[in-house]
């Protein structure tokens, strides 16, 4: 089965352009990523990063719980 794929891949002319294309795709992907991350809404970011701490409260509750529930007491 694989040998058929293999032969096809070998016969593609100019396959060397593939790595270049993928590199460009991801270069622009990352630039886009940086750009959007920079533009992110601060309040929403805060809400998102509090998700693990908010699990007993509503998702939109920014005032997450403090030490009492999420932390073991010290011996």
């Amino acid at each position: 089965m694989l040998k058929f794929i293999k032969q096809h891949a070998e016969s593609i002319s100019g396959i060397g352009i593939y790595p270049v294309i993928s590199l460009l795709i991801f270069f622009f992907f990352f630039v886009g990523l940086l750009f959007y991350v920079k533009k992110m809404d601060k309040k929403k970011v805060k809400e998102l990063k509090n998700l693990p701490l908010d699990e007993d409260a509503g998702a939109d509750d920014d005032n997450h719980k403090t030490d009492k529930d999420n932390h073991l007491k010290h011996a």
């Binding site: 293999k6 991801f26 998702a59 997450h64």
Partner: protein, 713 residues
């Protein structure tokens, strides 16, 4: 808004936690056993099942897939339900996943000591178990996605992205690397050969580290570190960038395991560039982890759970700094094949995976048993013993690595190699002993944890179904102004899965293109011929005994290696090797040209050496293979093996499978005759004859069209 009541399934979390602890102790114990075998080779190599070559894969598989694997699932099932505010979609699937995974582990624990192995590192399990792994993995993924789809929290927290990426990528890796042709019920040949096989294997091997030991654990870090510290992750934005960068770049880095090998140069360079770049996303994760604790370092001083986590994240940082360095050619020339690699992986394994697992266990067990940890003092003792254990393990191994490499490379003033290989082995014994001590310390720490958790469990009671409530998910989503596309992705699990798949496939395909094209990159060597049936059977015994765990078959183009082993290895020499046997560690010498030039020994030498290595090479740490003298070679498989090789494209003449056993008998009796001349009265139908035939064949092919070519030591 109406609150819906539901319950979290804690029983599955507990089961995976117990399995993590059990297999962790087993895996470490086997590791300690293997380590001590290098110190006391005569006593501890209980043949044949507990010989080093058979239990080293047992150790790696147990630690990676049983200890860390169960650790991943423990963390998944706990955090996934809570982050999504729902119970797992199906308790039955959760249970099938749990028991299926444990059965696979048991199957591995039985088959590996029996010598049933593919010899592809961290993928040694044979084809029926490979199929079982694929099935159970799909069940696990199915359950995870069904849970995500019925969630009550719209956004997928960063930990879940790592879980999704892990699921997708491990599936792809496992399937591609497990392409193999079954020969018998428990024996298969890799679909790929030689260079191609090596490239696929290390694409897999490296990404098993990336997507089994790293991404799921980063997911766990993003959940459990904030929980334990009770503060949100340092930067959510950083986590977005570092997630995409990590999964994109990791998948390319495999060829750094094959530097200076017979892999085409341009593929090596590709691997180096991406391996080096990896430092950025890796450190992004480490920084995000450590800075989560900013302003809370006073807590770290007091809280043993945070201590475990801080050491884990620090070890992650060290290992991911070292990794890119090791992939630079100049450093790799020194580190590769030595104990440096062993030190490197154990900083990751003991430090990052081990310590994070312990931290999570200490945090999670009291939670689901509604109690306090039995003893913080004991946990503290565990922390310090484990940390010391890591130091006692890693430092001697780094030292051994440097020493080994420099001894291998040293020449006298007259241009001779200064040290015979054996001397570089005996010199390392004290380092091996110290390393074993470090491993033993680490295990003692883990046993303290077993006791501590046992007492904790005894004093509490499992909350099997934990009550929770959350508002139902609104059917229509109100988009915020200025919302960006990544937030869209965070809400949509399926597009997210597809996006991750595309990202890893791009790297994967580009990585695979060299694999497909490699055929045109491998200059065929006319004199390289398929193995004779006896050599093929001998090779399969070589695979079965895990000889590759200590002996490489890859001579790099350095003067210190060509002087010692002969002409450097050519890609074209391996075209019939299903699977390849290049190895990754030289605890013993390279065997690529064991049958050629000045390396060649007599059949009698091999017989006596396999029977009792220490009698021939004083101070050798190789186990005895005397059982090969008693074992009768199973020739009933020869026909099937030749047929399989023909299917894979090895040019045996048509109908050769019917003549193979006749040729096998002739060659075997020739070898037996030379042994008889030296008064060794062994019948020609024994396994040792086949192994000798294989060893005598190694590296001889290219000598045939060269007159001298090699000067060996």
């Amino acid at each position: 808004m109406q609150l819906e009541k539901f319950q979290y399934d804690n029983r599955i979390v507990r089961n995976f936690a117990y399995a993590t602890i059990l297999w962790g102790v087993v895996g470490m114990l086997v590791g300690l056993w293997a380590a001590l075998e290098l110190v006391f080779p005569k006593v501890l190599n209980v043949q044949p099942w507990f010989n080093f070559g058979r239990i080293r894969p047992l150790h790696t598989n147990a630690v990676i897939f049983a200890f860390v694997g169960n650790g991943i699932f423990m963390g998944y099932y706990y955090s996934l339900q809570r982050l999504l505010k729902t119970r797992m979609a199906s308790d039955i699937l959760s249970r099938i996943h749990f028991w299926g995974w444990q059965l696979i582990i048991v199957a591995a624990a039985i088959t590996l000591p029996l010598g049933i192995t593919t010899s592809k590192e961290y993928a040694e399990l044979e084809w029926p178990i490979d199929i079982a792994i694929a099935v159970i993995w799909v069940i696990f993924g199915w359950n995870m996605f069904a849970t995500i789809l019925k969630r009550r929290e719209r956004h997928l927290y960063v930990a879940i992205w790592f879980y999704i990426a892990t699921f997708v990528t491990v599936a792809v890796l496992h399937i591609v690397n497990s392409f193999e042709l079954p020969v018998t019920f428990l024996k298969s040949y890799s679909w790929y050969a030689g260079v191609q096989d090596a490239l696929v294997q290390w694409w897999y091997g490296h990404n098993a580290v990336a997507f089994f030991l790293t991404t799921p654990y980063l997911g766990l870090m993003y959940y459990f570190l904030p929980k334990a510290a009770n503060r949100p992750v340092f930067s959510y934005k950083l986590s977005i960038i570092h997630f995409w960068a990590l999964i994109f770049i990791y998948i390319w880095a495999g060829p750094h395991h094959l530097l200076y090998s017979a892999l085409p140069n341009w593929a090596q360079s590709l691997g180096i560039v991406f391996s080096f770049t990896l430092i950025f996303p890796s450190w992004g994760g480490m920084i995000n982890g450590l800075l989560t604790l900013r302003g809370a370092w006073d807590k770290v001083r007091e809280d043993v759970i945070l201590k475990f986590m801080v050491v884990a994240v620090t070890a992650y940082g060290m290992a991911t700094f070292e990794g890119p360095m090791l992939s630079l050619k100049t450093i790799n020339a020194i580190s590769h094949f030595t104990d440096w690699t062993i030190a490197h992986v154990h900083v990751g394994g003991l430090g990052w995976n081990g310590m994070l697992t312990f931290g999570i266990l200490y945090w999670l067990i009291p939670k689901i048993f509604k109690t306090e940890l039995y003893s913080r003092k004991l946990a503290n003792a565990h922390f310090w013993i484990a940390t010391l254990g890591i130091l006692f393990y890693a430092i001697p191994m780094y030292w051994a690595g440097f020493t080994q490499a420099s001894m291998w490379k040293q020449f006298t003033e007259s241009g001779q190699l200064k040290y015979p290989f054996l001397e570089t082995v005996t010199y390392l014994k004290p380092f091996y002993a110290t390393r074993s001590f470090g491993g033993a310390l680490y295990l003692v720490g883990a046993l303290l944890m077993v006791y501590n958790i046992y007492k904790t469990v005894r004093q509490g009671k499992l909350v099997a179904n934990e009550d929770a409530e959350a508002p139902a998910l609104e059917k229509t989503y109100q988009q915020h102004n200025g919302e960006h596309w990544h937030r869209w992705l965070e809400r949509k699990p399926v597009p997210f899965l597809v996006a991750t798949l595309i990202v890893i496939l791009i790297g994967g395909v580009i990585e695979m293109v060299p694999t497909f094209l490699v055929k045109s990159n491998v200059p065929t060597i006319a004199s390289v011929k398929p193995y004779t049936p006896l050599e093929l059977q001998g090779r399969d015994i070589y695979v079965r005994e895990g000889c590759y765990t200590c002996h490489s078959q890859m001579i790099r183009p350095f003067r210190s290696e060509t002087e010692r082993y002969g002409e450097y290895s050519k890609a074209g020499e391996f075209v019939y090797d299903h699977p390849f046997q290049w190895g990754s560690k030289r605890t013993g010498p390279d065997l690529a040209r064991e049958g050629a030039g000045n390396n060649r020994k007599t059949n009698t030498w091999h017989f006596n050496h396999l029977d009792d290595p220490q009698a021939i090479s004083t101070g050798s740490i190789m186990p005895s293979y005397s059982f090969l003298i008693d074992n009768v070679l199973d020739t009933s498989t020869t026909r099937a093996k030749i047929r399989a090789m023909q299917t894979l494209g090895v040019p045996y003449e048509k109908g050769y499978e019917d003549k193979a056993n006749r040729d096998l008998a002739i060659q075997a009796s020739q070898i037996a005759a030379t042994l008889h001349n030296d008064s060794i009265m062994v019948p020609s139908n024994r396994e040792i004859i086949a192994v000798i035939a294989y060893l005598q064949r190694l590296g001889t092919d290219i000598g045939k069209n060269k007159i001298a070519g090699t000067s060996n030591k």
